[in-house]
Symmetry: D2
Subunit: 379 residues, 4 copies
């Protein structure tokens, strides 16, 4: 018996185009799924750049106009891995055409865009998901399981950082190929929408809603050469973004993201302190969860370094044997697998577009507070 297929139409061939393609290619090798994803078509404006990508991943065809991709009958899923400024238009059109829509994060460039996208998919009643992949790092999923089981008890503190150091050089241009994250018009914001958005998504999932924030942003290098215009222009994005938060459950949040933390490549860390236990996780050693259980016998208490590679750890029964770690890309594979499984079960996998909108409401409030210099409510 042959499985029913899901025709994938991928928009974008960059870093995320590769990560998503890999997810669809690998998910069926490790998970027993109700549908078989098929890489039907890759889409991008520049056919010359698209070709080697499509070949490498085995896409059956290519398109240079995403509207044509949406029109194709053999495409079931439109997966948007294009820069942020293209998310809204494509997603709304895809939903209107009745396609399943998957979108790289952040959903829109701001909450206003995101809200339109939510409206579109909910009106069209199409399955949808945003690739906030870190929820499905096994150690992070395990953290969620611990919290849901009540292992942490009442939460007092949530702390998250996402530190990078790749834009410190003043010679780096803003905008252009591979650098659109530095272009305000394309990206919508700097580290707030890029890095903090990840921290916020995980946090909303693990610790619930945020009521109020007070934020501070900084652009350390004020002017940069722009690759596309050829001119030196004012830099619009935020290089660093920090905020304090009050959660609905009474806990306190401390968030920080920057691209000016020398020595950190992609150091996403999170820590949660509860009455009964605490957890800590770090993307640079993503296969470990640090766990402190106050219930342990006093003289033996210590932070446990859990090597999340056992068969009874989330997702890990599908991979190798205990002790053998998986990596970053696997979070996408797990998300693709969960999404496809959810399609079969009729239970949509999170985060949906609506879930992702909640993150944008927080990032909007952070940016608003940085400008107003006072606390702002999350809308």
């Amino acid at each position: 018996m042959t499985k029913k297929t899901l025709g994938i139409g991928m928009v974008g061939y960059g870093f995320m185009g590769r990560a998503h393609s890999n997810a669809f290619a690998q998910a069926p090798h490790f998970f027993d799924l109700p549908f078989k994803p098929v890489l039907k078509a890759a889409c991008a404006r520049d056919a010359n750049k698209l070709k080697p990508f499509a070949d490498q991943w085995g896409y059956e065809s290519t398109e240079t106009d995403w509207r044509k991709l949406i029109d194709r009958k053999d495409i079931d899923i439109i997966d948007i891995a294009a820069p942020n400024n293209m998310h809204m238009e494509i997603a709304i059109a895809a939903a209107a055409a009745g396609k399943i829509v998957m979108c790289e994060k952040p959903l829109g460039r701001n909450a206003a865009e995101s809200r339109k996208m939510v409206d579109a998919v909910e009106k069209a009643k199409v399955a949808n998901m945003v690739w906030y992949n870190y929820r499905r790092i096994p150690a992070v999923t395990l953290a969620k399981q611990f919290i849901d089981e009540g292992k942490l008890g009442k939460i007092f503190h949530y702390r998250a950082k996402f530190l990078q150091d790749w834009t410190i050089s003043a010679d780096l241009p803003q905008g252009g190929q591979g650098l659109w994250r530095l272009d305000l018009g394309v990206a919508g914001s700097g580290v707030t929408g890029d890095l903090l958005a990840h921290c916020i998504d995980t946090s909303l999932w693990l610790n619930g809603g945020i009521k109020q924030v007070v934020g501070m942003t900084e652009t350390f290098i004020k002017e940069r050469h722009h690759n596309l215009t050829g001119k030196t222009e004012k830099v619009g994005i935020d290089d660093a973004s920090l905020f304090l938060a009050r959660y609905e459950n009474g806990s306190l949040g401390n968030f920080e993201a920057t691209r000016y933390a020398r020595g950190h490549k992609a150091l996403y860390t999170l820590e949660i302190n509860g009455e009964k236990a605490s957890i800590f996780w770090d993307l640079h050693d993503l296969h470990r969860l640090q766990y402190f259980d106050h219930g342990d016998e006093g003289i033996t208490r210590g932070w446990r370094s859990i090597h999340v590679t056992d068969g009874d750890h989330p997702y890990m029964g599908k991979w190798w044997v205990p002790g053998l770690q998986i990596g970053y890309e696997h979070s996408f594979i797990h998300q693709a697998a969960d999404f496809i499984q959810g399609l079969g079960d009729g239970k949509p996998a999170s985060p949906t577009f609506r879930d992702a909108l909640a993150t944008d409401l927080v990032t909007d409030a952070v940016l608003k507070s940085a400008a107003s210099k006072q606390w702002e409510n999350v809308a």
Copy 2:
């Protein structure tokens, strides 16, 4: 030739009374000092509790009235290790009597008190110092050396936390023997003056002045039994205190202190990100300095874990051999040694009362901002 002695009069016999006494006892064993400190008298109201302390440390005598201690001719230094609410009165009287004055941190319960103390010692022209001991953990002193040598370059970020977990139980009383840090009237504030003050002192030393802050405080347990009054009363201190800061040098600060971080006993951490290098330090492994040098050959770059125990590391040439670590108490020994050396050289060791006042101005601004819910300038 016998060295000239310095008669020490110690006020207080608690945790800090022991730490200071140890500092004076040990400094001459390891450092070649211009004066020999002599433990002349220990002073506290309760003679019964004072006696075993004085015996254990070999104080030559005891006093139960600090005014009498100040009157004694054989006392050169009044060292205040009593609770915060007694700092101001004793210090001012000691200065007026022409004594050298040393005071446990924080200087006063707030900047107003501290300012009076600064005025008193400066008017009296007496040597003075506040025991912000962490400056003299060798790894922290080494960090200062790196910064002064320009190893870090322009600073972008300063991040400090002081996390504890010892007041989470709702059964813990506020106030009373050993618990005065939980009593607002005695302590002046909660973690802000207790823990954040340490973070701020080190930060001002390493990274210069702070211009503006926005803070948030929380008292998780609103009422506690009070040991002295015998009643359940509203808790006045802050259990957690967080703030964002802008430094005069353009860098951004992120500070947090709490006694509700399960799993952390005294986790004072600091990290500084500069253009050329970053450093990280952690009180729980206080003999190590983490250092990332972007100038290293690309493929070999990594955070270096410097085991600060070599003979050419600060203070360490006076101790054992490379690889053999010292501990917490040694920071006080170093401070006593530096102070006594400074008396000989006529160069006062920092932090002076005036240096410590700067910290109180920041803590005052943090508490003010937590109440006003907006950014506040540091006075």
Copy 3:
């Protein structure tokens, strides 16, 4: 232009069957290879168990007799992922048929078997490789690069351990499905051939030849139930195996492997101490290389934790962006990619069958020494 294909015939569908299949599936997605591997046929005796494996990985066909697999014209590579006792016969037949032969480690159950296999592939002049995958963990490859560049200088010490804890329970049977590694007849030895062999292969590659060894083995649980015979039988395999070694370059080796080290799942660690620098690596955090460079300025010296995820680190330019780690399975992908590239270049990738024989000569000497209770020369 379509690439020439390489028809893969996979023998075995267990842990290693999956790892090898994944390697061939993924290599072309990330590496630009001269040939396209095609999963032509999977082979195992039990058709029912083979079917889901073949489906999951997309094998075009199945065989239940490896001789038929070897006879097939569309198969270019015979890849042996079957238990150890089948390696020799299949490899020799495959070589005789002119097939490229790849074999899971260890090559034979002992050096005598391995020698026949070497003779066969060398006589047949067919390309060949043994899947000692750890050479191609990027951090380990980087270690090799450091050594080759002379960064370590003269080597004094080599230290390796492979610690597991999965056979401590006395209830675990020996032999049977998934447990053939506990059956002496099938495996050839216990941890010596299973775990130490990995340590030795890496060591021979990084540090050159071993002259002499003295070893000690132990079987902690003397009798176990055998799943296949249904009886309680004497355990033949070694549960732990340790040896000291003298290398040709004058350095000293210390090796240990066990399945009785509670708390370690697959802790393969290696450390090399040279005159100028030292390195340390650990499979449980496989994406890091610890590096100590004595040439660093004295006060800044420390072990560097290199996060081996930069574009200029071995293989990593093909994956994601700095800071994002890959995992265990990628070592197989790299090995497949290097092997296929080597076929195109006419330069065989190591370790060849002959390279792998060198490892077996050491394991044989270790086992001989454990029995003779004296030092033994490596033949």
Copy 4:
């Protein structure tokens, strides 16, 4: 009531003379002891070098002939901190004179010397102790407590290393001031008696007797300039010493010591793997004990990093507050305190001379095996 005093006569003023003096000075500050140690006299041949040492530590007098020291009536304890070649003669004379005898490790230069020393103190019935200080690092004492409580269950593996890197330079002389550890005649052996002896002492205490060993030693630099003779001479000491061991309890030992491990200053590590739990300790972070408890719930299992600074951890109730670490020197303070307490209780503190002899029997067997190239029984 004044405590009875114990007059200390210290032989030696080097590294260990300081460590022992500090122990006697500090023990009464933190422990409530039955006797008050008094630094009566320091003794060494060179009066000029002795003077500043005696002054710094407050010795009441000095002697330049240890026989005179032994003759003094005001001396209760002869503490031998002189080079190894002087241990035997002084100890035997002190015992004969009825003095309590304390001796720096190793006891003698070999077991033959040590046996004579044991005979002397036992015949004289004088209290005696050898300064194997690492037993009293709180984390190591806690390990002993865990083992005694049965937390580890049956032991399978004991692993210890002591790695240094201070003799790699070929320019370092052998022998002379501060370098007697490199002189075979004075030291008795190289790292075997210096570093391995520490590992063995702890191991005998934690894991019981060793039956058999097979060892390997190496002297990497064969000739060195001798500071005292002024000539280049053959180096007699071992630079590295490794051995495998079989314990009486059936467990397997793996020991290694070297002064050629670049990057390690004094890295004494030990690991014990038991059926139920494992522990790991490391001198470079001596205030932590790593502990893995297999009894923990499966998905939460991990190595716990116990920060051994709580009031209920061994010795720590006497020091500061949780989270504040102590250092290397404190192990000596604890040993002095335990010894003085033992004198009061009439229960001698270990390790006695007899306990220390057991270590020398192992080091003798290791050196014998290194020469014979076969396994040797521990006598």
